[in-house]
Subunit: 451 residues, 2 copies
C-alpha cells in the first residue's frame, strides 16, 4: 500500500515502460556523489526500513482509482500496476558500516518498472538515516568515553523522523534516547530527567528534587540550573544526603559555561562524598561543542544531544543518487558533464588493515586476496533474507559500527578538515567503463530499448 | 494512541504532578525565540497536524504495560495515565499567517499534566512545518510570477516528512508537488515529467518524447538535457510539430547554465512557432539560485525546487520553545539569563496597514483600535473547532498566506539581510512582567505549587 509514496514521474515512466515492453531486468545503484563538508565518512543506515518499504510496495484499489481519476492513467496502465509487487533482489552495505563517496549503499536488480517505482522511497529512507547516523557518529568521535543521549525528538522533521533519528543515533552508539515510542520500538534505553517547569512547579529546588527522587528512585537526574547552578547542585547534595542515597544518580547542567560549571559541580559533589553522582550536560550541543568541553577537561560523564544532531544542522542532506547501471545483460553509463556514472553492478573491496583505501570494483570480479566485500545480499525475489527483530537489527548494526569505528583511519575520523579514505576504481571496472563509454560515443550502445 | 510520542521526562513529570496534586490549569506558549539568519519572517504551519495529534492523545494498554515493565511506572501513575485525554483549549495563529520571533504560534491551556505531556509532539510538528513553510516562502518571493513545484520527496527526512513538506510548500503557494501520496491526501496538483533514465531507455530522444506524448498527452514535459540541451529542445520541437501539437506542453532543463540555456531554448521554441511551450528549470535550486535566474532575465516559466527547500538546508530548525506562562490563576516567568519569558496568555495585535509593527500583549487586554488579533481559538475542551477537510485546510491557509504576503513590509521580505518587523511589548504586558519579576525576586511568587 505504499505505491503512491513516490514521485509522479516514476509512475508515469513505469506505466510507459510496461506499455512499451521495456521491462527487462535492470540494476540501479544508490550512492552519494560526494561527502558534505566536514564529513570524513558516512555511516550506512536506513536499510531495514527500506526493505520494509519494498516488501509493502503495492497499490490499493483506492490508490489505483486516484491514478485513474486524477492522473488519467488508462485501464491498461492500471491493470499493469494492480498486481505489481517488488520482486527484485537487493544487495547492500549492512547498516552501521562506514562508507565513502561513490560507494554503493544499495543496489537493486528488478524488472525496470519495479526498480524505477521504488527510486523515490529508497533514496528518501537511505539518505535521511545515513545523513543522521553520519552526523551522530561525529558526536561519538567527539565525546570519547562519555555517554551520549538523543534529546532531539522535539525538533526533528515530524514525529516519524524522531523515531528515525533515535534509531540512527543508537546505531552509532548513542546510549539512550528521550523518545519513549522509539525506545519501545527499537529496544533502546530510554532516558529522561525533568524540565525547568518541574522545578518551578515546587516551592523550591529541594522540594522538587525530593518529590522526584521519591517518585522515580531509579537513577534520578536532577536539573540544577533553573535558578543558579552551584546552588542547585548543593540542593541536590542535600536531598541525596538526607535520603542516605547510595545508588546511581546524577545532575544535569543545561546552560551557562558548561566546562566551568561542571568543574564546580564535581568539586561540590566530591566534597560531599558523592563521587559516584554523574554529571550530564545538555543545551544546543553538537560535536564541536562536545569536543570543546572534552578538550577543556570538563568532568562531564554524559551529553544530551538534541536538535543539531537530529536535523544534521550543518548538512541536513546528502548528494545521493539512484542510477541505472545495467539493463538486460548490458552495462549502462551516463555521460552528462559532472555526473558521469560507472557501469555495472558493483562491489566494494576493503582492506581490513586500513593500510590501503577501498577498491570499487564489479560485483562479478573476484575479491583481491585479503579484502572484505561490503555489499551483501539482503533481499531475494522481494523477500528480505534477515528476519531479525527491530531491536536485534539495531544491536547488530551497532556492533558493525563499533568494529568499523575501530578500523577507521585517522585522517577520516578527524572532526576538523577530515580526509576520507581513498576509493580506487578497479582495473576491471575501469576497463568496462572505457569500453561502454566508447560504445556510447560511437552510437553503438546508448539506448537500452529495442535491441 | 500517541501517548508515547513524547520525551520520557514529560511522562515522569506528568506522573509526578498527578501524584502531588499539581494539576491546576496551566497555559503554555509555543514561540520561536529568534529567527534564523536570512529569515525576515516565519510562516505559521503545522497546526492542523498538531490538533490531530492532540485529539488522538491517549495511552493504549500495551503502552501502559511498557511504562510499567520497562520504566517502573507504578499502578497509581498508570491508573492516572490510562483514562488521560487532552481536554484543554488551544488558541493559535492560523496556518499560512506570517509571524515574527517571540510571537506565540500556539497557546495551550489545560490541566498541567496534559499540557506537559503534549509538549514534545506540539513542538515537533509546529517547528518542522513552520521551518519548511518559511523556507519555501522565500522561494516564492524569489520566483515572482513563475510557478513553483515541490520536487523534494526523495531527500526529506523520511517518507512522512515528505508529505509535510509538500503540504507546507503548498501553503505558501507552490503550485504543485511531485509527491503523489501527498497530492492525494491534501488535494494538491501533482506534477511529474520524466527522468534521464527514461530518455536513455529509448533509441534516441525523439523516440522517448514520442512515446511519452503518446502515453501522457495532457501537458507533456520533455526532459531535454540528457545529452545536449539545444539538441534535446530541437528533438522536442520535432516531435511536437510532427504531432501537430496545440495543447499545453513544456521542456525541462536540469543542468548547465540555466539562464543561458533557457534563452537558447526560448529562441528555438519561438522560431518553431511554439511560443506557448513552457520552460521549466530544476536541479539543486533554492531561493538564491532562483533569484539569480530571475535577475538574469532567464525566460523560465516554472521552477522545480527540491532538497534545499525540503530540508530547509540553511536553517533546518527553529529555536522554538514551549514555556509555562501561567499556572492556576497566576502568571509565571522564567528569569534564566538569555531565556527570560514573558508572563501570561498572550495576543498579537497587528496593524493591517503595515505602518506600525506588531504589538505583543495579553490575551485579556482590549485590542487597540484598528488592530487585528492573530491568535484565535482553534480547540475547546479537546475538540477542534474547525472541521475543514485536509484539502480545504490547505486552501484556506494558502489564502491567508497570500493576504499576509501582500501585507508584509518590504524590509522583512528581502531575501538578503531582511529586517523583521518590530514586535513591541504592550504596556499592560510590560507592567505584568515587572510585577511578576519583582514578586519572584522577593521570593513571593516563584513556586507554582502549594499556594
Amino acid at each position: 500500500m505504499t505505491g503512491l509514496h513516490t514521485d509522479l514521474y516514476e509512475l508515469r515512466m513505469a506505466a510507459s515502460y510496461l506499455r512499451h515492453d521495456l521491462n527487462a531486468s535492470a540494476t540501479f545503484s544508490l550512492f552519494s556523489r560526494r561527502l558534505p563538508d566536514r564529513r570524513g565518512f558516512l555511516v550506512a543506515a536506513g536499510l531495514d526500513e527500506a526493505l520494509t518499504f519494498l516488501e509493502a510496495f503495492s497499490f490499493a484499489d483506492d490508490e489505483l482509482a486516484y491514478l485513474r481519476d486524477v492522473h488519467g492513467f488508462d485501464e491498461r496502465a492500471l491493470a499493469a500496476l494492480a498486481p505489481l509487487r517488488f520482486t527484485g533482489d537487493v544487495r547492500a552495505v549492512p547498516e552501521g558500516r562506514i562508507v565513502f563517496a561513490d560507494e554503493p549503499l544499495l543496489e537493486v536488480t528488478a524488472p525496470l518498472a519495479e526498480a524505477q517505482l521504488v527510486e523515490t522511497g529508497l533514496l528518501n529512507l537511505i539518505t535521511f538515516q545515513t545523513t543522521i547516523a553520519s552526523k551522530a557518529a561525529r558526536c561519538r568521535l567527539a565525546a570519547g568515553d562519555a555517554e551520549l543521549i538523543d534529546f532531539s525528538f522535539r525538533r526533528t522533521h515530524g514525529l516519524a523522523a524522531g523515531a528515525g533519528v533515535a534509531r540512527a543515533s543508537a546505531v552509532v552508539g548513542f546510549a539512550a534516547t528521550s523518545h519513549v515510542e522509539a525506545a519501545r520500538r527499537y529496544g533502546l534505553r530510554p532516558s529522561g530527567t525533568m524540565a525547568h517547569s518541574y522545578v518551578e512547579a515546587f516551592p523550591d529546588e529541594r522540594a522538587a528534587f525530593r518529590a522526584f527522587a521519591g517518585d522515580f528512585p531509579v537513577n534520578p537526574i536532577f536539573l540544577v540550573d533553573t535558578y543558579d547552578t552551584p546552588a542547585g547542585v548543593r540542593a541536590a547534595v542535600e536531598v541525596l544526603t538526607e535520603l542516605g542515597w547510595s545508588g546511581p544518580a546524577g545532575v544535569r547542567l543545561d546552560s551557562g559555561d558548561l566546562a566551568a560549571l561542571a568543574r564546580q559541580t564535581r568539586t561540590i559533589l566530591d566534597t560531599a562524598g558523592l563521587t559516584e553522582v554523574k554529571i550530564l550536560a545538555s543545551g544546543g550541543l553538537d560535536e564541536e561543542a562536545i569536543a570543546g568541553l572534552v578538550a577543556a577537561g570538563a568532568p562531564i560523564d554524559g551529553y544530551g544531544v538534541g536538535t543539531r544532531m537530529g536535523v544534521s544542522s550543518d548538512a541536513p542532506s546528502l548528494d545521493s543518487a539512484y542510477k541505472l547501471v545495467s539493463y538486460g545483460e548490458r552495462p549502462v553509463v551516463k555521460l552528462s558533464p559532472g555526473k558521469v556514472t560507472l557501469p555495472g553492478a558493483k562491489q566494494v573491496f576493503r582492506d581490513p588493515t586500513g593500510t590501503d583505501g577501498d577498491l570499487l570494483g564489479l560485483h562479478t570480479e573476484a575479491s583481491p586476496p585479503g579484502r572484505e566485500s561490503l555489499l551483501v545480499p539482503v533481499m531475494r525475489a522481494g523477500r528480505r533474507l534477515d528476519t531479525a527483530t527491530a531491536a536485534e537489527a539495531v544491536r547488530a548494526a551497532r556492533d558493525r559500527f563499533e568494529a568499523d569505528l575501530a578500523w577507521l583511519p585517522e585522517p577520516a575520523r578527524r572532526l576538523t578538515e577530515p580526509v576520507p579514505s581513498a576509493v580506487t576504481v578497479s582495473s576491471e571496472l575501469a576497463g568496462l567503463q572505457e569500453k561502454v563509454t566508447a560504445a556510447v560515443r560511437s552510437g553503438d550502445a546508448a539506448p537500452i530499448a529495442r535491441r
